[in-house]
Subunit: 187 residues, 2 copies
């Protein structure tokens, strides 16, 4: 009987390897050869599933971002606009561990030089901006554009601050900060 | 006549190579061999100036952060507390280009796994926190600790947002955001 290859499991191993190498060494280090080495297979075992490096990166990142998107959508089911905004911010900042934050920063930095990452990140950010802006506009703070900017800066800032300070801030400290911003923006 | 080696210039080339490799590929890629390759010299030409990899990283980062610190101190000479706070934030966010921001993120991420980077970053952050907190306490907003947290998150957030969005925000957009935060914190 021929050896059965579980194609779905193989695809997942390849995608996981892309994310793992990128998180550790940046996206510049992600090559078909590096991924093959990482999973202990030949390069042809990788190119059987992806035609080239660009497709390799696109598949892995799109899958990762699709999961993040579904996860966020689940977090806001049934909430009104103001509560959903708060839940989206808390999901982005609190609902993820250090590894997820490192992956996010690796992607954001990688997008500076890799157009395929830029395209996937733009796609995700378009979705995120729509989620945020529609709700902000309905809650109607004094200046919706500034409110959206401040909330976005807050998310990115809280992610980096954890690394900058050497540890994630305790949730109470982050909650006080969010409360201050919520009052300031009249959300 | 023996060939003259300009030791100061050689030290600077080594330090520049450390920063350059780290910005491109992360600090994990910075080794004595990689630095030697980068400057087209032997490893012994590098170890003539630094005993080991730890010293290599420490020298380069300390020099970089000392320059940043002096630069910030120059930006606030003669300003009152409120104006100095604003100038420090603007210096951190506006007064630096994309390369400086990439270097900063590489350092912040590298500090997760490299104790020598963590120590240098802590030293810089202690200085920064003192600059910020003393002034915030004298301006006396309602809650100085939350004010300091929000300003720090703002700096890290504005740096990352530039990469996240694919381009730095225009200065007017950043200024409007800072104005909103200044009013909110009563600074």
């Amino acid at each position: 009987m021929p050896r059965q290859v579980n194609h779905e499991a193989r695809r997942t191993r390849i995608e996981d390897a892309v994310i793992s190498i990128a998180t550790e060494s940046g996206f510049a280090a992600v090559t078909i050869r590096a991924v093959a080495n990482h999973i202990g297979a030949s390069t042809s075992a990788v190119t059987h599933y992806v035609d080239n490096r660009e497709a390799l990166l696109r598949n892995a990142i799109r899958k990762e971002l699709d999961i993040r998107q579904k996860d966020a959508e689940t977090a806001i089911i049934g909430l009104d606009d103001s509560a959903a905004l708060r839940a989206l911010i808390e999901w982005a900042v609190l609902g993820s561990d250090e590894q997820t934050h490192r992956r996010w920063l690796a992607l954001v930095l990688g997008a500076v030089t890799e157009p395929v990452l830029r395209a996937e990140l733009d796609r995700f950010n378009d979705w995120w901006d729509e989620q945020m802006y529609q709700r902000i506009a309905r809650v109607r703070p004094a200046d919706p554009l500034v409110a959206a900017d401040l909330l976005n800066v807050l998310v990115d800032g809280l992610i980096v601050t954890g690394f900058d300070a050497g540890h994630l801030w305790p949730s109470g400290r982050r909650a006080r900060l969010l409360d201050t911003v919520w009052r300031a923006l009249d959300l």
